[in-house]
Every structure is written in C-alpha cells, then in structure tokens.
Symmetry: C2
Subunit: 191 residues, 2 copies
Amino acid sequence: MSDSEEHTTDGRQARGNKRRAEIIDATLAVVTRDGAAGVTHRTVAKQAGITASLSTYYFATLDALLVAALSSVADTYTKRIRAIIDGPDDNLRGLAELIVESGGPGRDRALAERELSTLAARRPALAPVARHWRENVAELAATLTDNPQAIDALVAASDGLCTAILIDNIPADTDYVHRVLSQAIGTRRGH
Amino acid sequence: MSDSEEHTTDGRQARGNKRRAEIIDATLAVVTRDGAAGVTHRTVAKQAGITASLSTYYFATLDALLVAALSSVADTYTKRIRAIIDGPDDNLRGLAELIVESGGPGRDRALAERELSTLAARRPALAPVARHWRENVAELAATLTDNPQAIDALVAASDGLCTAILIDNIPADTDYVHRVLSQAIGTRRGH
DNA sequence: CTGATATTTGAACGATAGTACAACTAGAAC
DNA sequence: GTTCTAGTTGTACTATCGTTCAAATATCAG
C-alpha cells in the first residue's frame, strides 16, 4: 500500500475490507469444524464475534459468503504454489511439504479446498475456481517435466495425497509424500 | 437366496429391507443433486415418494441415514473393484474404466464417495469406511506391482482423477485415464 | 380367532435458518 | 454545521428442520 493510497482511501473502506476478511476467516474455521454444511450466517457471526446482521451486510446471501470463503482458499494456494515455483528450493519437495501441511497447520485450508471442489462438482460456475489448484500444481509440474502424462499423474496424485492425509490414511511425512510424488512423475523407479 | 430362506423369512423383513434400500437410493440421488447438505428426512422422503415418518422409522436419525447411504457406496465400490481383480481383463484398464464412470453412469456414486471421504475428514468414526476405497484400489495395484511407492502413487492418482473428472477438468476418456495411471504406477515412461 | 410385531401415517413441538427491514451510529465530504 | 454514505444492531417474518409420539393398518405366529 503506497502512501498516496493511504491518504486518499476512505477509512470506512479499509474497515469494511478488514471486516470482510474476518468474516471469511471465521467461515473457514466453521468449515473446518463442521463442514460447509455448518456454515450459516449465525454460526459464522458467532465464530467471528459479530452479529448475524453484519454477516449478511457484507455477504448478501449465504451462497455469496461460502463462495467468497472457498475462493479465498484457492487464492491462498495459488500464492503458496507460486512461491514454491519462484523459490530457490526443490519444487517437488516444496509441493510435498505443502501437501503434508494438510495434516497440520494447513488442515483447515485443505478441508476448505476439498469442500470447494466437492461443491464445484455440482456447480459448474465454481469449477473454474476449483481448477485453480490443479492448474497451479500442473504449472509446478511443468518445471520438472514436459511429459504430459507425468504432469497429469502428479496433479492427480497430489490431490489424492491431500485427501489421504485428511482421513489419516497415510502419514503426514514429507519424505514419504516426496517419494510418492517422485514415483508419480517418474523420477523414481522402485525396481 | 435359497429356497429354505424363502419359505421361512418373515415377509415383513423383506419388505423392510426393500424399503430401506429404496430410501438409500433416494438419499444418493439427493446427494448427487444437492450434496450431503441437502439430505434431510423430508427431501429424501420426497425423492423416494414416501412420508418423512417412514424415513425416520427406518433410519432413526439423519446421521444414521447419511452414514448408511454413504457406506453403501463404499460397498458398491468394493464389489466393483473385486470384480475387476477377479476378472479376466487387464486390471489397470478396468480401474481406468471405473474411474471414467465418474463422469457418466457412476457420477452419483463418485459424488457420494467424495462426500463420504470429506465427511470422514471430520468424523474419525467414518474414516474406516472412507478408507475402503483406497484399500481396494491398493489391493488392485498390488496385482500389478509390489513396489509400495507405485501402489501408493496409483491410489492417490486414482482419487485425484475421479475428482478431476467430477469437475470437468480432464476428459472422461478411458485411454487417457489409462495412460495417466500407467505413468503413476511406472509401467509407462514418456521418454 | 387373538396377541404380538412390523409398517405406515400424520400431527405437532421446539429449534434454527435465510432473509428483510428499520433505526441508529460513525465516518467522510462540502 | 449539514448531508451523504458506510457500518452496526436488533427485531421479526416465513419456512424448514430433526425429532417425538400416538393411532391406524398390515403381517405373522400360535
């Protein structure tokens, strides 16, 4: 935020944006705890420590709220994956670390992303947002290989690994996840 | 059903089981249309052409109904995958065909399975059921390779591919899916 | 036939939801 | 200061929900 913006911005706009973000955070907390089905204006308001009227003031319909919250998760992932791609470290390992976060600090994010793609399966309008994650992972994969099948396999495996971690089907262990990803993309052969 | 069972079975039991199955089918239809969140005794009853009281008679709580419906999907997948393993054809291709069904005749089933695993991420009691799919696919993979990473990569990729098909991110095409699976398991090298 | 049991139906309760709306407060511009 | 606009609050409506319960009907066994 440049200085010029700071002096000309209506303070109420900033307040509104901050409040909007708080509501979205609260929504994601509710999604994590109760699933997308648990998101109501009242549950979110309570979680955010505000009145339900405020929630409806900022998000006119429950639908708008849900879409905004879930879309914000897609944005977060985009940023994270971009950072991995642009960073100095091994992209595949970075991806493995991101996936492993699904079992820890990134659990709410992973759950929300999952709710989004599940919702998108029934709501074509949401599909583009849901595809972001895949597109981002595909972009990262393209830095590792130019084989289309390998790229697609890595994208699919990444998704499946997140789910497996969410349901405690596999260990949230970076080395393990890295090995599976390597297998999928073809840089590791078991025998 | 053997003859002896037919002569000794209380007709009311059969009626009840049939009704129970109808209600579960209606539930899955509602899941497909509106998601798990759309499942209420009333919506299911309407879908099944019965009264809501009947729905609550057979499934005492909404939770019991949801769990039963989603679990039945896991059973269906188990049977299908078992049939592929036991069948005469190529297991990997059979798996590809099963995955491709997610975009067509098996869409409701795939959606329900997805709702189940999403629910299971928040409900540890459901996790064992949600893991069935994975365990079944892993068993099928074990007929193709004994490399643990390859097995895990195939399981993860299968899951991810189903999702991608559900959100129209990839073509529901058997050859394509088969190629990606082959890549993941390591039987195909791009170059 | 009677008594037991399974199935079916409808009414109703308390709770919660989405949403609408009006009044009030706060911030900004002139 | 006044006027406009954004933010905040509380009330209330209609609708739906999960669940409970009792009555009626159908099926089965003796």
